[in-house]
Amino acid sequence: MSWLAETFSGGFAQRALLEAVMVGGLCGVVGVHVLLRRLPFFTMALGHATFPGVVLAALLGVNLLLGAGLFGVLVVVLVAALGARERVDDASAVGVVLAGAFALGVLLLSAQAGFAKDLTAYLVGSIVTVQPGDLATTAAVGAAVLAVLAVLHKELVLGAFDRPGLAALGYPVLALDVALLLLVEVTLVASIPAVGTILAVALLVAPAATARLWTDRLGATLALSPVLGAASGVVGLAVSQHWRVAAGATIVLVATAFFAVSLVVAPRHGLAGQLRARRRTAVPRPAPGRAT
């Protein structure tokens, strides 16, 4: 354990640690809702699509996160509008918006100098250079997102499991949908300095998916997921500092390792549990043959 303490002795390392814990925890909570609503692809697209916003903000000299956030809102609207077309299914709408927006960002950027380096930091993050200002932003955004989630908890959960029921009770279903998408978007943008856009999706999905393998109860999932997220952040950061590899990507690999192990050993939904359950209920089943 001593090398762990040593790793986090410097000022920049402590800031990185704090950021990793905050981002991991926040993404863990929001991720539960992302999975309940089946939004991983949308989140992925949002990650790519905020890119031109970042480039534009850099060109205009305003806050990068503000640019990403505003552009993300535009993308939410575009996907909703395209997906409403009769012949464009949602997956294709997301795909078109993803590719188009990202290419637009690259186009804007390629006209500038210093192309490769900025882009890399944006895509895979650079947590060891996190500034006190970034920490404050993450803390403020995290507190706000968690507060909204707590207030709307009942409505959002009902909406995930029973949309017609929510509508029948008189709640504004569409407004709640948009509110959730915006919460996901804000969380994603707040995670960009730490792990970058592509890998932020991993922190939004992997801890929540891992937690769902261990428990069937939503409350327990909501408690376990942020713990897993924060733990991925701390362990990943330590490993990356020790072996000097990219920090954001290592955090993601640790989160995935948690998932892979759980996939095998989790008591009920893991591989072991499913084999045991199958043996216990070993009744002769009809062969799953094809109909003739």
Binding site: L35, R38, L39, F42, A80, A103, A111, A246, R290
Partner: protein, 300 residues
């Protein structure tokens, strides 16, 4: 018009780039038909990212990049079927986790090299202007292979897309068909990734096919239109990028320009489609089940 569309391609490296982009446009356009019909845009997106560690490992070991990408593409196709079978996890979560973890593995490996930033950029956007004869031959071979399989399995794949229950009842192995389609998508990614980068591959596979779906009523005409749009977008994008970069002095990345042109074609198709349908005397019906937000239907 010939100034824009023909003149830049008198230069040999521009000719090779054009040939590569048109080949890939046709190939991706054909496979894209099934990507769009089966709503597999996310699978395609995932495959473009998961071949990354294969490319890095092949590069570090001094092996063929094609081989490395192929190995990881096939690995993804298999793992996807395996994890997706766990009902508690679900397809989309399995995809997101595979995508990000494989990509991270590639980033970790590449971060050990000194040319980190530029390597990553090449992977994402390719270097279409440095395509050589060997690359062209590889693309051509893969294109012939993929198109031959598509032509042979056309009937089965279309049936699987529109009536999965019927396909199962008629005795087709839907799991095997799905695996074949995943492998075909992986092959397109492998063929394209070195030349044009991952972001362009996903655009070539989804955007022309989605535009064709707006305009065509039959699978055959949709496929033809999709190939045509893919190739035309590639040509036009290259020409515009060359024109603006060389004559106007504003550098525009060729890969990204192609994507923007393709999306512009899609938007034109989206605005023309309702007019065309009205002209034929059909009312734009509000058919279709209510959809959820985002990429997937909201089930449960």
């Amino acid at each position: 018009m010939t100034e824009l569309l023909v003149d830049p391609f008198r230069i040999p490296y521009m000719q090779r780039a054009l040939l590569e982009v048109v080949l890939l446009g046709v190939l991706a356009g054909a496979v894209g038909v099934f990507v769009v019909l089966r709503r597999l845009a996310f699978v395609a997106d995932a495959l473009t990212h998961t071949v990354f560690p294969g490319i890095v490992i092949a590069f570090l070991l001094d092996q063929s990049i094609l081989l490395g990408a192929l190995a990881f593409g096939l690995l993804t196709a298999v793992l996807l079927a395996g994890i997706g079978a766990n009902r508690r996890v679900g397809d989309d979560a399995a995809l997101a986790i595979l995508l990000t973890s494989f990509f991270s593995l590639g980033v970790v490996l590449v971060s050990r090299t000194r040319t980190f930033a530029s390597d990553l950029t090449v992977f994402l956007f390719g270097r279409v202007l440095t395509v050589d004869r060997a690359d062209l031959v590889q693309t051509l071979v893969l294109a012939v292979l993929v198109l031959a399989v598509l032509a042979a399995l056309r009937k089965e794949l279309v049936l699987r897309a529109f009536d999965p229950a019927g396909a199962t009842a008629m005795g087709y192995r839907t799991v095997a068909l799905d695996l074949v389609l995943n492998v075909l998508i992986a092959l397109v990614v492998v063929a394209a990734v070195k030349a044009v980068g991952t972001v362009l591959v996903i655009a070539l596979m989804v955007v022309p096919a989605a535009a064709a779906r707006l305009l065509a009523d039959r699978v055959t005409s949709m496929a033809a239109l999709s190939c045509l749009l893919g190739a035309a977008g590639g040509w036009l994008g290259l020409a515009v990028s060359y024109e603006v970069s060389v004559d106007r002095g504003v550098r525009l990345a060729p890969g990204a320009t192609i994507v923007v042109v393709l999306v512009a074609l899609f938007l034109i198709a989206a605005s023309v489609a309702p007019v065309r349908r009205l002209a034929r005397g059909r009312t734009p019906s509000s058919a279709g089940a209510p959809r959820g937000v985002g990429g997937q239907e909201v089930r449960r």
